[in-house]
């Protein structure tokens, strides 16, 4: 079974990477870009499991490895 985990910075957490991208976009003449915030996406293939078990396992994966829960949020989608 397939799942997608999206990990993004929490609001208020500074994103120097995003700032650098805004600068680069500006130097490429893209006007009107107010902000960019970069995150990570993980496409995961798991052995088949009941949905609730899969969600629980994926949540544990996020809590332990995929996300730094101090500064990041995560979102789990079963595909």
């Amino acid at each position: 079974m397939k799942a997608r985990v999206t990990v993004t910075l929490k609001a208020g957490v500074l994103d120097p990477q995003g700032k650098a991208i805004v600068g680069a976009l500006d130097s490429l003449d893209f006007k009107g870009v107010q902000s960019v915030r970069q995150g990570k996406v993980f496409d995961i293939v798991l052995d088949d499991l009941p949905q609730d078990k899969a969600k629980k396992q994926l949540t544990e994966m996020c809590e332990q490895l995929l996300a730094n829960t101090v500064i990041e949020n995560y979102q789990i989608e079963l595909l």
Copy 2:
């Protein structure tokens, strides 16, 4: 207006980062993980534009900066 750009590796492109994550998950006793592929997600805030113009601009941003179109695919969502 807000948009989300998701950039993922094309099929067949090796993902050493993803492989390392599979190994780490295994060492954390997560069983049944067949594969992990890591990508990037950009949450962009733009000045208001007609949707078609915004999509065109975002496509250009991907082509020029946000994605390496030789090895990556990108997906644009207007939120």
